[in-house]
């Protein structure tokens, strides 16, 4: 068992927003009666202590935090990502067991690899090694189909 100093730290207590007492003091955008303490790093709205959310040394308002999480702009909040490179590789390799399906899956593998290149990628793995292998295999399958179709139609 490894114990760290945080074990002895007192539980953190939340800050309280101060009420505006003097005329001319800036108020919070969300709570006009509360004193503004800091602007949001994204939208610039004034925030009181209640609305100030600190994330990696940036101060954000709840709306920007929610929007950032939904749109994938805040990597720190991302909880999942799709591996398009793995999907493309599976689409390229697995149908080889039932090769007639490669007629449909090879273009799908290439499309998936190219689509994934424009999407958020894995936080921990590189994208292109798998995607490139998928594109090469799928291209070879398409080339094979082209040769087969050429031979069939030439003979016909």
């Amino acid at each position: 068992m490894e114990v760290f100093p945080a074990l002895l730290r007192a539980p953190a207590t939340g800050r309280k927003a101060e009420t505006i007492l003097l005329d001319g003091e800036a108020g919070c955008f969300y709570h006009p009666e509360k004193k503004a303490e800091i602007p949001c790093a994204e939208c610039g709205r004034f925030l009181c202590a209640l609305c100030d959310v600190e994330l990696n040394d940036r101060h954000l308002c709840p709306a920007c935090l929610e929007a950032g999480a939904k749109q994938g702009r805040l990597v720190e909040l991302e909880q999942r990502r799709v591996r398009y490179d793995s999907i493309a590789l599976a689409l390229a390799i697995v149908p080889l067991l039932m090769w007639p399906f490669t007629f449909a899956t090879a273009p799908a593998a290439i499309a998936c690899a190219l689509y994934g290149a424009r999407q958020p990628r894995s936080l921990v793995s590189r994208y292109w090694p798998r995607a490139a292998v998928a594109i090469v295999i799928a291209s070879a399958e398409l080339l094979g189909w082209a040769v087969v179709l050429y031979v069939v139609f030439r003979d016909a």
Binding site: M1, E2, V3, F4, P5, Q79, V82, R83, S86, L123
Partner: protein, 191 residues
């Protein structure tokens, strides 16, 4: 899209589960536990500043696995030997390949060392780390993480820790009078 800078360094091997595999990565200010299903990755972050303890507990899984894989090896290997001596044509090869596969898993299980369970404690959670199932890997991980946490939290003074622990034990549980009041449930409406 430009290539993102490498944010994480791998600190554990790949540990398989029924739904995919787990892997642990080290970031600048947090640990990242990745559960991958092959087509999707799920992330959990544990910040160094929040880590209170890492608990590593040895388990008997290595022995249990050895018994199971040894039994499979024996169950397939002995009939392979018997059928080979009896001159049966194909069956000894099939059983021999199976026995060799089971034997290889058995040897790998022994070579990877003792097994363990690893848990990570913060102020609000105690999470299992399924990526760490071998004791030697867990110890190596502890050596790496100790330095990282010390950079953020500082080093725990053993004497201070013992004194605080003794003080907490002496204080005992929180008195009922100090707890916040619990609202009584509303009585159901009567007709």
């Amino acid at each position: 899209m430009p290539t993102a800078p490498k944010l994480y360094r791998r600190v554990s091997g790949r540990t398989a589960s029924f739904t995919g595999y787990h892997r642990l990565y080290e970031g600048a200010d947090h640990l990242l536990l990745v559960h991958s299903t092959g087509i999707r990755e799920d992330y959990r972050r544990f910040f160094y500043r929040d880590l209170q303890a890492i608990i590593v507990r040895p388990t008997s899984r290595r022995r249990d696995n050895a018994v199971a894989w040894g039994a499979f090896t024996a169950v397939t290997g002995l009939p392979a030997l018997a059928t080979a001596l009896a001159g049966v044509p194909v069956l000894p090869i099939v059983l021999g390949v199976l026995a060799a596969s089971f034997g290889a898993v058995l040897i790998a299980n022994q070579a990877l060392g003792p097994t363990c369970e690893c848990h990570l404690q913060t102020a609000v959670q105690c999470e299992a780390l399924p990526a760490l199932r071998r004791l030697n890997r867990a110890q190596k991980f502890l050596g790496q993480i100790r330095a990282r946490v010390a950079e953020v939290q500082g080093v725990l003074d053993p004497e201070e820790f013992a004194a605080r622990l003794a003080a907490n034990r002496a204080a005992g549980p929180v008195a009922e009078a100090e707890l916040p009041p619990v609202m009584a449930p509303e009585a159901p409406p009567t007709a």
